[in-house]
């Protein structure tokens, strides 16, 4: 069992990015601040690493943005140097970084290989959708740069798969999406529903239908190397395995997003909500845990989860994403997920894997 606030998501440049993706939730929130790029200082970085390493033996850091590569190579060399001090004291540390991939060249790939970072890339599919939505500020597509980056990471064996956003332009193209990824040699995929953007967003029901089509294609293609993480999580849980999707763990309290000034929030879906600022990395871990905001967060998690009492799927989804539990879309999300779970469960029964 992991401790609360033990899975760090670090945003060394907050939401700053070299792309201007049309649906980006960070872009709309942080746009007023975009003219100023502030990289996490050495003092905040050291304190952040100490904060998480001092109270647990096994720490997985995820570096996130905006575009985290904008922090520069020296920043990540420093990360590695500071972490080594804890590794020499017996701590086990792993690092993952989620990038838009456009800046990854030989030098970056070499650095990540050297310091042991696994790299996930955001890539939409098919190509026409990426070209339209994931552009530089000037409107030029980032696709060729991103694919170049992915090839460098695959070469170094540090590629950690893609996250593909699903919205109005591609939710009805599941086969084209998988074909595109397989053509690029990409076999680890996670999907993410576009929400909030009027032009691009799809409903929970459309997204669940999309995922069910992806599930059927996954069975049809039947390539053991092809991992679709959203689907795999549901299948694993139905077959008695472990909860791997954060939204199904019921343990949102584990995640701690640290911004470049050292402030701690839960997952970044709650960005800019002052009531969910738990404290800073400059405070003792225990003080943050007993703090008023964190305790209120735990209480709210419990109360909203009680709404799921009586649902036969609650042991699978554990109440789902806390942010979604608070939204007025909750009922629709539950109905969509239930339909998806039933469809997958029924297929597993057909193959005799469930009774």
């Amino acid at each position: 069992m992991r401790n609360p606030l033990s899975v760090p998501i670090i945003k060394p440049i907050n939401g700053d990015c070299n792309l201007g993706c049309h649906y980006c939730y960070m872009f709309s929130i942080l746009e007023p601040q975009k003219s100023v790029r502030t990289i996490m200082s050495q003092e905040v970085l050291q304190t952040t690493i100490d904060f998480f390493c001092s109270h647990q033996n096994d720490v997985e850091f995820t570096w996130h943005g905006g575009e985290p590569l904008l922090a520069g190579m020296e920043f990540y060399r420093e990360v590695s140097k500071l972490q080594k001090q804890w590794i020499s004291r017996g701590k086990k540390i792993s690092n993952f970084i989620q990038t838009n991939g456009s800046l990854v060249d030989d030098e970056w790939a070499e650095l990540f290989k050297e310091i042991g970072f696994f790299v996930g890339v955001s890539l939409d599919a098919p190509a026409s959708v990426h070209n339209r939505l994931r552009t530089f500020g000037c409107g030029t597509s980032s696709l060729s740069y991103v694919l170049r980056g992915i090839s460098k990471l695959i070469e170094k064996n540090i590629f950690n798969g893609v996250i593909c956003c699903v919205g109005k332009r591609n939710f009805n193209k599941p086969r084209e999406i998988l074909d595109f990824f397989l053509d690029q040699g990409i076999k680890s995929i996670k999907f993410l529903r576009i929400k909030g953007d009027e032009q691009e967003a799809i409903s929970a029901s459309q997204y669940a239908d999309f995922l069910f089509q992806i599930f059927n294609l996954w069975i049809e293609i039947d390539n053991p190397d092809l991992e679709i993480r959203d689907i795999k999580s549901i299948v694993d849980i139905l077959l008695g395995g472990e909860f791997r999707e954060c939204t199904f763990t019921g343990r949102c309290d584990q995640f701690a997003t640290v911004y470049n000034d050292g402030s701690i929030f839960p997952c970044d879906r709650f960005i800019n909500e002052p009531r969910l600022r738990f404290g800073t990395v400059f405070e003792p871990y225990t003080k943050v845990l007993i703090g008023e905001n964190f305790q209120a967060f735990l209480a709210e998690m419990r109360v909203t989860k009680e709404l799921c009492h009586g649902c036969c799927w609650s042991s699978l989804c554990n109440g789902g994403c806390f942010k979604e539990r608070l939204s007025n879309e909750k009922g629709n999300i539950c109905r969509a997920n239930q339909k998806l779970f039933e469809g997958i469960e029924s297929a597993l029964k057909k193959y005799g894997l469930l009774v």
Binding site: M1, R2, V7, I9, E60, T62, H64, S94, F96, Q98, F118, G120, N160, G161, I163, S188, K190, L192, W218, I219, D222, N223, P224, L226, R229, K232, S233, V235, D236, L239, G240, G241, E242, R244, E245, C246, T247, T249, Q254, F255, C267, D268, R269, C321, L348, K350, Y351, G352, L353
Partner: protein, 38 residues
């Protein structure tokens, strides 16, 4: 009793991994916005 359809490789693999996971330690996790699993 009706015979089940032949089980696809991906599901056989999932079944075997799910069984192994029962004894594994928790995590790493996939979070909504990012992926940190290898």
């Amino acid at each position: 009793m009706p015979k089940s359809a032949p089980v696809p490789c991906v599901l056989m693999l999932a079944l075997s991994q799910a069984t192994d996971q029962k004894d594994a330690k928790p995590g790493p996790w996939d979070q909504g916005h990012w992926a940190n699993r290898k």
